[in-house]
């Protein structure tokens, strides 16, 4: 029967690593989008402008799986904590995702976040506040426009959409 030699040494090494990195609990990092319609846009296959697509988070996550693992490993070897390593990997996934997320008003793209799972609620609250402020500012700017300016804006937007549909 085949035997594995020096398995105790390996177990000891793994236990030491677990003590080093998991002593303060198991850190977990979440990458996501705050917009309440993000799931719909993510899951519904639809025609988007060139370079943009549905599955804007799942696809890079699957494609970058190995790369993210390597990033975490590299940072751990250079002395970073597990949380920092995971956060860095999360940020690179977020960046890749933001490159392909469909953009209409920019609200969805702007709602991308990478957060430690323990701080998730706090991060979401900050994002929400930022969004409320930005929407308020946009509304204020819109209200300052004259009816003629508003009509011009709508006309231009319609023309843009028409051109895009043609293309």
């Amino acid at each position: 029967m085949p035997t594995i030699q020096n398995i105790n040494r390996l177990q000891d090494k793994l236990a030491t690593l677990a003590d080093k990195y998991l002593s303060k609990g198991t850190p977990s990092v979440v990458v996501g989008y705050t917009a309440n319609y993000a799931v719909y846009v993510h899951e519904r296959p639809a025609r988007h402008s060139p370079g943009k697509q549905s599955k804007f988070l799942e696809q890079p996550a699957r494609e970058m799986g190995g790369e993210l693992g390597q990033t975490v490993g590299k940072l751990l070897r250079s002395g970073s904590s597990l949380l920092v390593a995971l956060h860095t990997a999360g940020l690179s996934l977020q960046r890749a995702s933001q490159l392909i997320v469909p953009v209409d008003t920019g609200n969805l793209k702007g709602g991308a976040f990478t957060a430690n799972e323990d701080d998730l609620q706090a991060v979401l609250a900050v994002k929400d506040a930022q969004l409320t402020k930005s929407v308020g500012k946009q509304k204020e700017q819109w209200n300052k426009k004259t009816p003629k300016q508003k009509a011009n804006y709508r006309k231009k937007k319609q023309a843009r959409m028409k051109n895009w549909k043609k293309s």
């Binding site: 799931v39 719909y40 799942e58 696809q59 699957r62």
Partner: protein
């Protein structure tokens, strides 16, 4: 994974038909299962899409890349309980009924070794124009064409 004549979504469609979770759209029966396109009628239907898969390295001797293909099953229904029940049935079937299952499409035969779900039925809410309910299930599939 060696090349295949049909897309993984198509194979999963026929697998679901063989598990009696839906029907061939050409027969005009309830719960037709479409691939990669979602017609407006009927209201209750299932659509299977191909999505990004996961590569798991390469076999050194043959150079073949081992890949779990990605699929998404989307269930659309007129009311919430019906759509949910169908999504849940698909969910359970993918978990429990797929094990080295043989799928025949025309003269081609495929073996679906396993389906690994990455999410349960996710509620997407309602379609903006028609108010129909939507659920989606994401999974990766290990399969191979045998003939």
């Amino acid at each position: 994974m060696s090349s295949m004549t049909h897309s993984p979504a198509d194979v999963i469609r026929w697998l679901l038909v063989s598990l009696s979770l839906g029907t061939d759209p050409e027969n005009g029966l309830a719960w037709p299962i479409h691939v990669s396109s979602e017609p407006d009628a009927p209201d209750d239907l299932i659509v299977v899409y191909d999505t990004a898969g996961i590569t798991n390295g390469r076999i050194q001797r043959s150079g073949e890349t081992v890949e779990h293909k990605g699929v998404m099953v989307q269930v659309r229904g007129t009311d919430h309980p019906t759509a949910w029940a169908k999504a849940e049935a698909v969910n359970t079937a993918l978990d429990e009924s797929v094990r080295n299952s043989e799928v025949t499409i025309g003269s081609e035969v495929y073996v679906v070794y396993s389906v690994t779900r990455h999410s349960g039925p996710i509620s997407l809410g309602r379609e903006p124009s028609t108010n129909r309910f939507l659920f989606s299930i994401n999974a990766v599939v290990a399969l191979r064409q045998t003939t």
